[in-house]
Amino acid sequence: MAKRVGIEVSQAIAEAVKMANVDVVAAYPITPQTHIVEHLAQLVADGELDAAYIPVESEHSAMSACLGASAVGARTFTATAGQGLELMHEVLYVASSMRLPVVMTVANRALSAPLSVWCDHSDAMAIRDTGWIQIFAENGQEVIDEVLCAFRIAEDQRVLLPVIVYLDGFLLSHMIEPIYMPEQDEVDKFIPPYQHLLPLNPDKPVTMGAFAPPFIYSETKKAQEVNLTAAKEVILQCWDEFGNIFQRHYSPVDCYRAEDATVLLLTMGSFGETATVAIDKMRNECRNVGLVNLRLWRPFPFAEIRQAVSKAEVLIILDRALSFGGPAGPVCSEIKAALYNEDKKPKVISFVGGLGGRDITPDGFEQIINRGIEISQTGSKQEYEMYGVRE
């Protein structure tokens, strides 16, 4: 039976990656992700993890080395954050397009300038369309569980796509939490060995990464899109099985006291946990509010989102990133688009907050909900409002 231990989430990630018995870790240090790769380096140095640890000279090379390792059939892991993720940008497309199931954790971090090492989701939003499966974790336990699921999902022969597990920088990465660490034999059973179908191999030469002229490029992209969309079924199956073994259950969208709520708040990442405190308080005051937390960011869970918000009158969406000059926060834009053709849909109100590590307390969530309700009745001159900003 798994033991519950007090452990820093970053360190727990490294332990989970060790249990997944990865072959290659290629990484470059960047705050707030460093503790993950530092601990992995130590595990390799101590002989506890038999893996090649490639201390590359940039994040671009980190992901590039992962491509090479994955192409020879190695189970491959890296971690990054903020600027590092942006430097990887073009390489990320290649990993998904060449069907190389790399697993990565991203400790979300704001983007320069001004330089900020603290959390927001700007980094994740900028790589939204790279074709990776993307999962936002809400707490430390979930990070560990999703990292284990990530290997299984990525390497499933029906999927073969890279997976990112996002954890809020510092808020989760540096938190010491009580976490149920699984037993090695449970992990071995849950994650089967990775078998690349056609690795680089002199005995059976293959050409990887040939270029595509216009007559075939669209077809390759269509195939990739069909594949990513279809991956949702495998993700659901994986979470089901994970629930059966480990008794912790995950779904693309989490609802908290939302069934009969007329007003819903929607968040991603660690916001969700804090917001439940506000929801509980408001419920005690007989306010009819609930919370929706979006976990599966790509492939986007259209049906689950539509169902989760279908009965609400007001849906307040809090983004942790800006789309400069755009209609609203990026998450809000997507959810609005998902609901636009629905016959019955809530009024959608957009907020942006928590940029560059700015905290939002339970009181803050209450203020956002109250202001959201007010806007739903009186309207607002702005497309979205920024919470807690001094003007």
């Binding site: 290659v24 090649a52 080395a65 090479g68 002199p202 293959v206 040939a210 002229p213």
Partner: protein
């Protein structure tokens, strides 16, 4: 078949063997790893060099290529010219991809996830992917000491995108982004000394080579992959399209680059310099310059300037060799 199968025994001195260079197709292995039907330009020196290098490498090789002439000329969905396992991902990251390939193979063999096999990892890149955009990744891979061979096929500009200058473009060359004009001679900077930069990483093997000297090239490639740790070979690849030279003069121009001392052939083994081909007397650089449209516009004065620079650089090399 033995790697680098050449039907002239290795004990025969290189200088004598190179006299038979014209018979090279009959004297080297018939095994082909780069299939015909590729789309290299007519008279391409790089195509010749890649083909010879592959013959020297043999079957147990994995090739990593960045974006560039070789990549676009040998791959196009659904076709491939590669009879060896080959991977292309991006422009600036080949050395990093190769790091992953090499480390991945090693660890998987150690863990019994792949059968133990002697597999060589080779990057085949252009000068842009090496001297400019890929320099950081290359430096990182060399410093980390991966066991791989990096071959730079230097055609002295971004040729497949339309002959734009790179840091490997020679002084005075007219390219589309360093055009000669009323107030410019063309490229105003001297060619980056890439082998010296690589050698500064203290890796065990560095060499220069030219497909005009096929046996020398194949020897060096075979030596490069046999080296434990990183090895680097810089191959001057004559480009009739970009150099505006006659397609039937590719081999000749390659020889002239060596005979003038512009591109001397040498090896650096564990820090020790060794000249591959003694030149009793160097030809004047004009012999090389005049055959190329990109350099034909140069004034006598500029040619003199180039001659002085070549003399100086050659003398520096001779000091290291001695």
């Amino acid at each position: 078949m033995e790697k680098n199968a050449i039907y002239i025994p290795r004990v025969v001195p290189r200088r004598i063997r190179e006299k038979y260079a014209v018979q090279a197709p009959q004297l080297v292995t018939k095994e082909e790893y780069l299939a015909s039907g590729h789309r290299f330009c007519i008279g391409c020196g790089e195509a010749l060099a890649v083909r010879l290098a592959c013959k020297a490498l043999g079957r147990n090789s994995i090739i990593v290529s960045p974006t560039g002439c070789t990549e676009i000329s040998t791959s196009l969905i659904p076709y491939t010219s590669w009879c060896l396992p080959w991977i292309h991902t991006l422009f600036e990251n080949s050395a990093a991809v190769a790091s992953g390939v090499e480390a991945g193979l090693k660890v998987m063999m150690r863990k019994g996830k792949r059968p133990a096999q002697d597999i060589d990892v080779i990057v085949m890149a252009g000068d842009g992917g090496t001297c400019d955009i890929g320099l950081q990744a290359l430096s990182g891979a060399l410093e980390r000491g991966h066991n791989f061979l990096y071959i730079c096929f230097d055609n002295e500009a971004y040729m497949n995108t339309g002959i734009q200058r790179s840091s490997a473009t020679p002084f005075g060359a007219s390219t589309t982004t360093s055009p000669a004009g009323k107030v410019s001679i063309g490229q105003v900077t001297w060619k980056k000394n890439m082998p010296a930069i690589v050698a500064a990483h203290d890796i065990p093997y560095v060499a220069t080579a030219s497909p005009s000297y096929p046996f020398d090239l194949m020897d060096k490639v075979a030596k490069g992959v046999a080296t434990k740790g990183p090895a680097y070979i810089h191959i001057l690849s004559v480009c009739p399209t970009g150099w505006r030279s006659a397609t039937d003069l590719t081999v000749r121009i390659g020889s002239l680059a060596v005979e003038t001392g512009i591109f001397p052939l040498y090896e650096i083994e564990n820090g020790k310099y060794k000249l591959s081909l003694d030149l009793p007397q160097r030809r004047p650089v004009i012999d090389y310059l005049k055959l190329q449209g990109r350099l034909r516009h140069l004034s006598e004065e500029t040619v003199k300037q180039i001659q002085q620079r070549v003399d100086k650089e050659y003398a520096k090399l001779m000091e290291k060799v001695a």
